[in-house]
Amino acid sequence: MQQANRLRPFFENITFDRADNELILNFGPQHPSAHGQLRLMLHLQQEQITKAYPDIGYLHRGMEKMAENMIYNEFMPTTDRMDYIASSSNNYGFALAVEKLIGLEVPRRAKVIRMMLLETNRLMSHLFWLATTALDIGAMTVFLFAFREREYLMDLIEDYCGARLTHAAVRIGGVPLDLPDNFIADLRKFLDKLPENIKDYEDLLDTNRIWLMRMENVGVISKEMAQSWGCSGVMLRASGVEWDIRKEEPYELYDEVDFNVPVSDKGDNYARYKLYMAEMRESAKILYQVLDMYEGTGPELMAHAPQYISAPKIDIMTQNYSLMQHFVLVTQGMRPPVGEVYVATESPKGELGYYINSQGGAYPYRLKLRAPSFWHTGILSDLLPGHYIPDVVSIIGTTNIVFGEVDR
């Protein structure tokens, strides 16, 4: 049924046969080290890249459009599929934006649980980053090691919310569930072992000649370039800008915990690798402190705001008014006040922002997802020229882009 002449993608219209000795290389969209569906059109002078055009949109699923057609709670599971390596941080960013819009204060236990989710997700994301980047560069052992630890973290998350990848573990106004039995003990057990594991990875990589050659002084991003491209997270901190939203604009309980923000001024791949490793240690440090906080919190998990948030399950089952209110909130949705809000959180990849324009309806009028990876992909067009082909893989690796987030 398929006709040969039908299948003519756009790049076939490009003239590959050129007089000026320049080669055009098509990289992706299905490439094992493209971290998803990145397509790069690379102009090459021998092995050196002269121009790079990243082409994205191969995973554009229309999330912003979906948000305009969904009630606020309905959109929560969709946010999971943005940065699917660390789903809870997306859930949290959205929940926080809506909470800021309607002016809610979340109970302390919910805050503690959210902190745990956020930091375990950060660990998961960084471990995954390490695994895939090491695999791309050829260090298969690190891939297997890091996935082993990640599976343990996924077990923990699964104990909490039942899902491995797409958690939907945060609700607007709190969290749906209390911690399961043994969660704290298990997490503590994992954290006790984590420094050893991180040391294993570093022992394998830090003095590895291949790793150093592929990482050091490759993909150097200057401070000006990083700021101009709107970089955030590790991409920005590796270029010498000390900016961590957890520290500068603290949300949740980040102002109560003690942690450092690792910064480097080298700006190359190796600096970014070191920062990821340092951030894993900091996350562990935060988690230890948050685990201690859990004990002293009250039993409430959801904020009390009958206009916006359903009552606890026990009330819905026993009290008529709570049931009616729950019914209205589920079928028609909450209606936040008229106004707009932009809330930025520090996701594992960088600044994850939600811009919500509410016109007082049950559906957001406009919801813009500010995903950090979008700009981290854009910077490739300025970063790659001058590098050689093998560097492309290591640079894409250390930018830590996730295509669910880039294309939304």
Binding site: M1, Q2, Q3, R6, L7, F10, I56, G57, H60, G62, E64, K65, M66, E68, N69, M70, L101, G103, Y152, D155, K189, F190, K193, M225, Q227, W229, G230, S232, V241, W243, E248, Q332, G333, R335, P337, V338, G339, E340, V341, Y342, V343, A344, G353, Y355, N357, S358, Q359, G360, G361, A362, Y363, Y365, R366, K368, R370, F374, W375, G378, D382, D407
Partner: protein, 268 residues
């Protein structure tokens, strides 16, 4: 008679709204309440027309004329230390007032402040690119063009970014349905197999609530697998889950559940 549905906004609407319901407002406070914002506001006001300014949820919102956008952003970058353009996009107000609202979300790392600069342009107008000031605007403006059809002047590479180059329509406009127009719905079929294959492949099944218990053309239930297209309205036989065929597999030892070991204590 069919109920009238507005054609200029085809997005989902709540099916019921209490007629006495008045939407509350998110509190806006005056710019003078925050010293940093007040100083920034004065600096911008001295050079450009400011149509409106207020503080909402801890961030200053400044509404300016669309013609001043480059000047205001340049001033904010060079003199007021707003060193990142974290977000830039548009909002479709075509149905209400025939305009797009464009917002620039600015961040000052030294002051730890965020400001949103907004302006409105009509559908046929275009806006000046700020790509010269912030490289991040390069991709944001392309995305804005892709999603809304807002043309940006002086942009180095004004092409679609998320949708394919031959896409028709601007998806985030309110007139564009969530599930796409006819072009979108047949896009991959037309492109790969040609329009004449539409009848063979058939329309997309877009009804997300559709559950056909007896459909064996597309799916079979796990443990109840039947041949494709079989009629199962009278019930289907159970197919026990098995990892290998009953008679065993050539040269492969059969899995024996009795002899296998379950590791319950994972070494955490």
């Amino acid at each position: 008679m069919r109920a009238y549905t507005p054609k200029d906004d085809v997005q989902k609407k709540p099916y019921y709204t209490d007629r006495y319901w008045v939407a509350p407002q998110v509190a806006k406070s005056d710019v003078s309440e925050d010293a940093v914002f007040a100083a920034d506001f004065e600096a911008i006001k001295a050079k450009f027309d400011v149509l409106d300014a207020y503080i909402q949820v801890g961030q200053m919102v400044i509404v300016i004329n669309a013609a001043d956008n480059f000047g205001v952003i340049e001033l904010m970058k060079n003199e007021l230390a707003y060193n990142q353009l974290s977000e830039l996009s548009a909002i479709d107000w075509l149905a209400q007032e025939g305009k797009f609202e464009i917002f620039y979300q600015m961040l000052s790392m030294s002051k730890r402040k965020r400001v949103r600069v907004k302006c409105k342009i009509s559908e046929k107008e275009s806006i000046q690119s700020v790509e010269k000031l912030f490289r991040s605007a390069d991709w944001s403006e392309r995305e804005m063009y892709d999603m809304f059809g807002v043309v940006v002047n002086n942009h180095p590479f004004m092409k679609r970014i998320l949708m394919p180059d031959d896409w028709e329509g601007f998806p985030l406009r309110k007139t564009y349905p969530l599930q796409g127009d006819e072009f979108a719905q047949w896009y991959e079929v037309d492109k790969l197999f040609g329009k004449e294959a539409r009848e063979i492949i058939g329309p997309e099944i877009r009804d997300s609530a559709r559950v056909d218990r007896y459909d064996t053309e597309r799916f079979a239930r796990l443990g109840h697998e039947v041949p494709r297209g079989a009629d199962i309205s009278q019930g289907e036989p159970d197919t026990p889950l098995c990892y290998q065929e009953n008679e065993g597999v050539f040269m492969i030892e059969k899995f024996d559940a009795e002899k296998s070991v379950v590791i319950s204590d994972r070494d955490r």
